[in-house]
């Protein structure tokens, strides 16, 4: 509520306020689904003053990084794509290459090329109260200034390699699944895979096909359900291309399935029991060995962590040339991996399928807002944002795929689309009401956070399972705790009254002077 104010107003940036290399209305950070979707919508609105900044050397985010064999979405493509940019997909669950191609088409058809700034990461973002602008410092020393910032840095792009003793001692090649080393031919090799998360479930079957021997180190068994995947026939694709309604119907069906799987299993015991039975039947059908069946049995209730989909995961584990090790890994030696029980596996390569550092949204970026407050400090005991999008004290900063907007089993793109529409609403409100900035009210954000806490308490994922959904003290900072249509509904409209605002200095100051007819985005905010 009480806000330290004042400092920056008179003095601007202080003595060392350098000229920005580029000044725009909107700076978008991240060129994955989120950033590119935002940019496409801005282009459709006719905006020209924006840039998309990404530390990578190409667009795509998740789908640029994850090139491992078998990489594919596990939400059907009809839903894992933007409704405003439909596409004809080769199969139900498209692979990484097709998804990346989709995003490249999005860039081409919206003419986004000239707006992309690749190859430099944003290191810090500071809000300057005097000019009411954000200053973004890139790691190549460039400075970008913007009226509004859309952070689309994703949640899953910093590979997490566990802190295992001796990793650097290993003589052979080793890599994380999101940094796949395509120069290594695994044919005939002995391969260790650490981790059995979403990525491992996809690439282990592919690796096992070529490797001489595959050893999978599992800390916690996942629930892996059958994936109803298949290529679309030529006829189906022709229909999809011409009859939009068919695609829409498919989108709806997929959506409802995702909703049921997600919150359904969390909220309905009967559904949970039915799905658990389905899972067990499918697992037992693929695995005969009672020992291995036991190892494949998760030690938590379904829904506690993300449910995974694959048709050949258990089949692969049952192969004679694949070993599943449930002993915790103790150390990596020059030639292999040793578990705590002393068992040592000699391998030629190690692949980490250990997922991503998740719970610190936006963590590597230093962000300061009104009165010099720091987002890192603000979030030291868990990230929180109003509707996952805005944080009080950080005017005109909008987060895509922010805190509490991750999902257990539905399309993140669906969430991103809701957020993009909401941000557009905010930008339009700035224009319409001739405002320099909007900043979500502290009481509004607090009320939302209380609702998230209360609602999450009822769900499985805070009921004791320490998954990547929660902070160390068991609060849910990652997942949306309700149905996704509730999210969409809640974000259908940007409510300006939920925000404190600052008028543009160019707004009608004296009533004697009529307002400038064209107080637009192009108009600088402050006096200088």
């Amino acid at each position: 509520m009480r806000r330290p104010t004042g400092s920056g107003v008179a003095g601007g940036d202080g003595p060392d306020a350098p000229e920005p290399d580029e000044a725009v209305d909107v700076a978008i950070v991240g060129a994955g689904f989120g950033g590119l979707g935002m940019a496409a919508r801005l282009r459709r609105e006719g905006t020209r003053s924006f840039v998309v900044i990404d530390g990578g050397d190409g667009i795509g985010g998740t789908w640029r990084d994850n090139t491992y064999p078998g990489a594919a979405c596990d939400v059907p493509s009809t839903l894992y794509s933007f409704s405003f940019f439909p596409s004809t997909w080769p199969r139900r669950f498209s692979g990484q290459r097709d998804i990346l191609a989709y995003l490249e088409r999005l860039v081409d058809e919206h003419g986004l090329g000239p707006f992309l700034r690749m190859g430099a990461r944003v290191e810090r973002m500071d809000f300057d109260e005097g000019s009411a602008r954000w200053h973004l410092r890139l790691d190549d020393r460039r400075l970008v200034s913007a009226r509004a910032v859309v952070s689309a840095v994703g949640q899953l792009n910093r590979p997490a390699v566990p802190d295992i003793e001796g990793v650097e001692r290993f003589a052979g090649p080793s890599w994380h699944s999101a940094r796949w080393d395509h120069s290594v031919d695994l044919a005939g090799k002995r391969v260790a895979v650490v981790g059995t998360g979403a990525s491992a479930v996809q690439f282990v079957p592919e690796v096992a096909k070529v490797a001489a021997r595959t050893v999978v180190f599992q800390r916690s068994a996942p629930y892996v359900l059958p994936k109803m995947d298949r290529p679309y026939s030529r006829l189906e694709r022709a229909v999809h291309e011409r009859v939009r309604a068919v695609q829409l119907a498919d989108r709806l069906r997929v959506y409802l399935t995702g909703e049921t799987l997600g919150l359904g299993i969390v909220r309905s015991r009967r559904l949970l029991a039915a799905l658990t039975a389905l899972w067990r039947r499918s697992m037992h059908a693929q695995v005969a060995d009672p020992q291995l069946r036991l190892a494949c049995e998760p030690d938590y209730v379904m829904g506690c962590k993300r449910v995974l989909f694959s048709n050949d995961w258990y089949r692969t584990l049952a192969r004679p040339d694949v070993d599943l090790v449930t002993d915790p890994v103790a150390e990596v030696t020059a030639t292999g991996v040793r578990t705590v029980s002393g068992r040592e596996e000699q391998v030629d390569a190690i692949i980490f399928g250990t997922g991503f550092a998740t719970s610190d949204v936006l963590a590597p970026v230093e962000v300061t807002g009104l009165g010099g407050r720091s987002l890192r400090e603000e979030w030291s005991d868990g990230a929180s944002a109003h509707l996952g999008v805005t944080v009080s004290g950080y005017p005109n900063l909008f987060l895509l795929y922010g805190p509490n907007t991750n999902l257990g089993s539905n399309s993140i793109v669906f969430m991103l689309e809701a957020q993009i529409g909401y941000v557009l609403g905010a930008l339009q409100a700035l224009d319409r009401e001739r405002l320099a900035w909007v900043d979500v009210r502290a009481d509004v954000q607090r009320r939302f956070a209380a609702w998230v806490d209360a609602t999450s308490r009822r769900t499985a994922w805070t009921s004791g399972c320490h998954s990547w959904y929660t902070t160390t003290d068991g609060r849910n900072t990652n997942n949306w705790p309700s149905f996704t249509f509730v999210y969409r509904w809640r974000l259908r409209r940007f409510d300006l009254l939920d925000h404190t605002v600052m008028p543009l200095r160019a707004s009608p100051l004296a009533t004697a002077a009529p307002p400038p007819a064209s107080a637009t985005w192009a108009t600088a905010a402050g006096s200088r």
Binding site: R447, A454, R457, S482, L497, T500, A512
Partner: protein
């Protein structure tokens, strides 16, 4: 100064006509206040409030305002029409209004009586607001009752009406909602009106009430006002600052009227009419009515901070929450105050309600935006009081 003493008389304990003390079990105006309940709901807050569609209310406001705020009518006619219209405003049950006199000025004291009062999320516990707050204090001072003031939370709200019309009834609904959300006693002074009593009569009454309160309530009050009342609140705070008197804990200014020179511009200058699209959208105020009020209140000229506090300084004032409506001729006053605060580093938060009309929060309980505004005001006031509230140990 009209006041003869801190508290000249008090007619406390007397349930006022409109405040029915009924059904103590029912949650205080639940549903209209959108107070968060402890149980989790599937819908994120704010829970949809049962509110009149804004368009219907807007139309009603247009009709009522055209009939009441018309410079061609005499002041008595305007006043009686407004009073009649005020009776249409539904008051939440469980509101308790008491009349008293503070510093020689008649006041109405509003509390949300009975039961636990919901407090905005994030603040521990509920507040029991039965006999608490100022209602008790007034009685103490008057020797009528020895009830101790349980809650040192007092908010003084000056009603709007262009300094010429209106009375506490204008802000009664707002006050009740605010009282329910904060557990505070809300004092609504019935200050003297122009043209019978031009400036600085209203300011003198305001100061008399505040000085009387200094003696009877522990800790600072929150100062609030709507429209002209918000200008009065700011002018009173400025004056108290200049005189070295106790300052309020914070200022709540709803659709404040702060610069009367904009309404007394010389003939030919556009004045408030300078933005035709805004004039069209404003369904409550018309420039000519504001001009009539400004002339009546400030016959000797409006370029004195006493009547146009925007011309004075805001240095050294407590934190402010300012609420403006987008379709309100006076929104520029709020915007200018916000810019002034930004330039001087003062702690001010401005909100702007899109599609809303002048003084929309006075229809608290009828329209969702009013509920949102009241929640913001309540949250701010609680934060300002927090260091003194017993539930916030250590402050």
């Amino acid at each position: 100064m009209t006041g003869t003493g801190p508290v000249a008389s008090a007619t406390a304990g007397e349930p006022a006509a409109s405040g029915s003390a009924a059904a103590p079990r029912a949650p205080v105006t639940a549903g209209t206040l959108e107070a968060p309940s402890s149980g989790a709901s599937l819908l994120p807050p704010p829970a949809p409030a049962p509110s009149l569609p804004a368009a219907v209310l807007r139309l009603s406001m247009a009709i009522v305002s055209r009939r009441c705020f018309d410079p061609r009518l005499t002041w008595p006619v305007q006043r009686s029409r407004l009073r009649a219209a005020g009776r249409l405003l539904p008051l939440p049950r469980l509101a308790r209004t008491t009349t008293a006199t503070l510093g020689g000025v008649p006041v109405e004291v509003v509390t949300a009586a009975g039961g636990r009062v919901p407090v905005p999320a994030g603040r521990p516990g509920g507040v029991s607001a039965g006999e608490a707050g100022l209602a008790g204090a007034v009685r103490d001072a008057a020797g009528v009752s020895s009830a101790t003031a349980g809650w040192p939370r007092t908010l003084v709200h000056f009603h709007g009406g262009g300094y010429c019309v209106g009375g506490p009834f204008v802000a009664r609904s707002f006050a009740v909602h605010l009282a329910a959300l904060t557990g505070a006693a809300v004092v609504l002074p019935d200050y003297r009106l122009a043209p019978e009593h031009p400036a600085p009569a209203a300011l003198h009454d305001a100061l008399a009430v505040l000085r009387a309160l200094d003696a009877v309530v522990p800790g600072p009050v929150v100062l609030s006002g709507d429209s002209a009342g918000a200008g009065l609140a700011l002018a009173a705070a400025q004056r108290r600052r200049d005189l070295g008197e106790p300052l309020p804990a914070g200022l709540l200014l709803h659709c404040p009227w702060l610069d009367l020179t904009a309404d007394t511009a010389p003939v030919g200058a556009p004045g408030r009419a300078g933005d035709p699209s805004l004039v069209r959208r404003d369904v409550v105020l018309r420039p000519s009515w504001l001009t009539a009020c400004a002339r009546a209140y400030a016959p000797d000229g409006a370029d004195d901070p006493v009547v146009s506090p925007l011309l004075g300084s805001i240095d050294g004032l407590p934190p402010m929450v300012v609420q403006a409506a987008a379709d309100d001729l006076l929104r520029t006053d709020a915007e200018r105050l916000a810019l002034m605060a930004a330039a001087s580093g003062a702690d001010l938060q401005l909100v702007l309600a899109p599609g809303m009309w002048h003084d929309f929060a006075m229809q608290a309980g009828l329209v969702a935006a009013a509920g949102s505004a009241v929640r913001q005001a309540a949250d701010a006031a609680l934060a300002w009081w927090a260091p003194r509230a017993p539930e916030a140990p250590g402050g």
